[in-house]
Amino acid sequence: MPARTAATSTPPEILVLVDLAGGELDEAGKGILSEASRLAKTLGGTWSALALAGSEPLPDELVSEVLGAYGTKALTLVEAPAEVADLLEIQARLFAAVAAERGARLLLLPHNDLGAALAPLLAAELSGALFTEAIGYQREGETLQLTRALLGVQVAETRLWDGSVPLVLSVSPRILSAVVLPSMPRSTPQLHTWQSAQPLPVGATRILERIPPDPQTVDVAEAEVIISAGLGCNEAAFTQVEELTRLLNASLGVTRPVYDLGRAGFERMVGQTGKTVAPRLYLALGLSGSMHHLGGIKDSKLVVAINSDPKAPIFPNADEGFVADLREVLPLLVERVKSVTGGAA
């Protein structure tokens, strides 16, 4: 029976798991570092980052400009043979060993594909508590109150962590934002390396292949960047829009009339009677913005519209609007993007 320690009596050391594969930190990674500062402040403890070391040394810029900017004071790199990158069970065992050695009470990670897979493995390794996909937390006296949405966001579940066992906490990417807060002092991260003293065990599962999402085929409801074509795009313009989506790694969306013309499948149709979307960027090309279309894009973060009709209802609903003829603008846009991307995605 482990000794019961209340969350607040001993401020817990927080370990933040980040994915630095390829020498980069993605949006979710930045978001979780930002969240770590807030959580440490809530609980009154300290935090440090933990990652699997890659074959290449980390770029200085990543360490100083990115990790430092988010207030990372220390980063532990777990060294292991290259194949461990494909062995999640082994990763979990190594990370859990670091956590146990440090006496860390809380492991924090984003609930993305990797985080979602690692979180339960870590909790099992640590015989700890598990709370996944959190959308909120607050300190309740001696405990930490955690919230998540269940059953397609119809029900909110709240649980309390009393600190008696380590907690593995994954946070929903929906609430993560990569902001640098004034309260996060810029620092120069101390780098430590860590190696397992034990021989590595053999895991039961292995990642065989990583298939990157093809923006051309990804569900438009999940897409980060959508370029949508309306009836204002004639056949030639539509071909150019398709090219633009390839060049910008964006997803193609269409309006009902364009779907009716058979230029794209039903799964590409955006609107109240098609897919409801919430991309970071919604580029609306030659679509007027009928009520039924706007109903499906209202959660988009940034809407940019190009239309030849200055009275098109899309404009009052767009963050930026350009009155222009697509027949003139699209070829220029495609050329410009090509010159920047070198013609390849």
Binding site: G152, Q154, D260, Q272, T273, G274, T276, K311
Partner: protein
């Protein structure tokens, strides 16, 4: 399965419904002699056949003081039971459930049909019917409760699966609940507890009559949408009180009242699914299943509402009026075959409000399901080679129906796409959904094996060269070339030219409206949206005189006024003269006969009627074996008649 939620079963009390689609109560005007009719059996049966899990009948009258509409069923008479049995047996063959709706309209009616005073909580006349009602005595309230119970017994004897009490947009019960219509000082007015008393009496009486093992629900007005009336917060409390009685099994919802009838049956300008937030709000407070109805015309959207937990049952009314087979097609994933309702309201609300039998612009078979329902189309005994000229709605429907029957059909149109005048009309402000009429049928025409030839001007010689067995002329109509003196002058054009972008319209516009329908008002709005100053002169008492029955009038006038459009009614225009910038309209007031003139316009836009395009018909008359003429080229009317005639001819040729 594309729609897992939509096609999951739902328990409403003791009744298990096979899916989440309910054909909602609405007037049909199909009853005969205030008794259930055979037409109603086939009407509701067709929707059961089409896959709806639940059918709820139109309102059935529970008391002789209520006869708001002439062709309702008087359910308090025991004579209704045999007719009900036929209806329920017919519907049950298709594995659908059927509930009956009971209603007393209170002051939302008048005594002109019943020859009795209307009854209401307080002597407050309804805004539409304007007749001061008799304030009900306590004995009257008790009598209505007894009649509700008696009626419910007939419903149960008639073989229904459940009963729904109408406490919605048009109901005595709502008038008791609403501070707008209940001024009583006794135990039936004042506090919410008191206002709930009469509706709860009705519920209790019905529950007692039908027993514990029969499904009973309420249709409540989710929000009266008018200052001083019931809002969502109050309705949540009311619904919770109904649920707490432990007597009801489900909560159906409607919206608004006759103060704002345009919201009860939202037309094309109303967003799809406009009542969803209200259903979600009521559902938050209840454990029993909650319905959501109101422009949910698409299974994709219905599925989203269910998946998001905003409602438990999707009410479809116009969607299934337009396409009774929507549930079946959705289940089979045949979205391309769906005929989507466009909420034009011309055939359904536009007809029933005028005491005509229910219709649908896009579904000519409605109300004639016995002879024209699914499966009634028979292969042609003699296969003919048919030429159809004109790819508007009339020609498309004729070609489609004839093609389905095995004829060899070629459809010609001079335009670059099918649709005829609909393609122009849909360019009017807010009218783009009108084009869905064409979208719905285009593929059906092709699937019927019709050969479509576009961008082809068809001369009589060309028709004769093809040596067809039969020719159908559906060449439509054009705006009258000279409807008024000076119509051919500079700066004068017609509404179709404006919408098609064929003319440049100046900044200061006068639109002459002899139409009273959307082609005039939607063009005026189209021009106002471009920042032009628009004045409408019309011959009627008010602009949009034809827009009342479809519930488009209120919002059309509201939008036009907000966009700065001004009106002069009662004027017969006799002459348009002058140069652009100084265009002058002369006319006289049709009541006072005094002449007047309006001047200083850059452009004059005419909505002054159509002329049939009949040249081809007369050129072919007597020269082909079989010649037919349908739609506007017979006499210019509206799209409902074009489709009606195309459908009928295609069935018979």
């Amino acid at each position: 399965m594309m729609f897992p939620n939509l096609f999951s079963p739902l328990k409403l009390g003791r009744t298990e419904v096979k899916n989440r689609i309910s054909f909602q109560p609405h007037l049909t005007n199909l009853a005969v002699g205030n008794l259930p009719s055979e037409r109603q059996m086939y009407y509701w049966g067709e929707r059961a056949k089409g896959g709806a899990g639940l059918i709820i009948t139109e309102e059935l009258t529970v008391h002789p003081t209520d006869m708001a509409y002439e062709k309702l069923i008087d359910v308090y008479h025991a004579e209704v039971v045999p007719g009900f049995k036929k209806i329920t047996d017919y519907v049950h063959q298709y594995d659908a459930k059927i509930f009956a709706q009971l209603n007393h309209n209170g002051q939302q009616g008048d005594g002109s049909l019943s020859r009795r005073p209307v009854w209401a909580p307080s002597p407050v006349p309804d805004v539409l019917f304007r007749e001061t009602p008799k304030a009900m005595e306590v004995e009257d309230i008790e009598e209505v409760a007894r009649y509700f119970a008696l009626s419910a017994e007939h419903v149960r004897q008639g073989g229904f699966d459940g009963v729904e009490l109408q406490f919605g947009h048009s109901s005595l019960a709502r008038q008791f609940l609403s501070p707008l219509t209940n001024y009583r000082q006794d135990e039936f007015g004042g506090s919410l507890e008191n206002r709930l008393r009469a509706p709860l009496m009705f519920i209790e009486a019905v529950r007692k009559a039908v027993g514990k093992d029969f499904t009973l629900g309420v249709r409540m007005c989710a929000d009266e949408m008018i200052p001083g009336g019931l809002d969502l917060a109050q309705v949540q409390e009311i619904c919770a009180a109904f649920e707490a009685s432990g007597l009801i099994d489900f909560m159906d919802l409607s919206i608004a009242t006759f103060y704002n009838l345009y919201l009860v049956e939202g037309s094309m300008h109303t967003p799809l699914g406009y009542t969803i937030p209200l259903a979600a709000g009521v559902r938050e407070k209840l454990k029993i299943p909650v319905f959501c109805t109101g422009r949910i015309n698409d299974p994709v959207m219905a599925e989203k509402v269910l998946a998001a937990g905003q409602a438990d049952m999707i009410g479809m009314c116009r969607a299934l009026i337009c396409d009774p087979y929507l549930p079946k097609k959705a289940k089979e994933g045949r979205l391309d075959d769906l005929r989507y309702c466009i909420a034009c309201n011309q055939g359904c609300i536009g007809r029933i409000g005028m005491n005509k039998s229910i219709g649908c612009v896009q579904n000519p078979a409605i109300g004639r399901e016995k002879t024209w329902g699914e499966g009634s189309l028979k292969p042609a005994p003699v296969k003919k080679k048919i030429t159809v000229v004109g790819g508007g709605p009339a020609g498309m429907w004729a070609a489609k129906m004839a093609g389905r029957r095995g004829h060899e059909v070629t459809l010609f149109d001079r335009g670059d796409a099918l649709g005829g005048q609909v393609r122009t009309a849909m360019k009017g402000a807010g009218r783009d959904e009108f084009g869905v009429i064409i979208r719905n049928e285009k593929e059906q025409v092709e699937k019927a094996g019709v050969k479509v030839v576009l961008e082809t001007e068809v001369s009589p010689e060309r028709v004769l060269e093809g040596n067809p067995d039969a020719v159908i002329v559906a060449t439509g109509s054009q705006p009258k070339p000279h409807p008024v003196g000076g119509a051919d002058g500079p700066g004068v054009c017609n509404v179709w030219q404006v919408l098609d972008g064929e003319v440049q319209v100046g900044q200061k516009v006068c639109l002459i409206d002899y139409d009273g329908h959307h082609r005039a008002t939607a063009t005026a709005e189209f021009l106002a949206d471009q920042g032009k100053s628009v004045h409408i002169i019309c011959s009627s008492l008010f602009i949009g005189a034809e827009l009342g029955p479809t519930q488009d009038l209120y919002l059309t006038r509201q939008r036009l006024l907000k966009k700065g459009v001004s009106f002069t009614p009662d004027i017969a225009v006799m002459e348009v003269s002058g140069e652009p910038g100084a265009k002058t309209i002369k006319g006289f007031n049709v009541y006072s006969n005094e002449w007047d003139e309006w001047s200083g316009y850059d452009s004059v836009v005419l909505a002054m009627g159509q002329a049939a395009d009949e040249d081809l018909y007369f050129a072919l008359k007597g020269k082909v074996k079989e010649l037919h003429r349908i739609g506007d080229c017979v006499a210019p009317r509206k799209v409902d008649m074009a489709i009606w005639e195309g459908h009928q001819l295609g069935r018979e040729i």
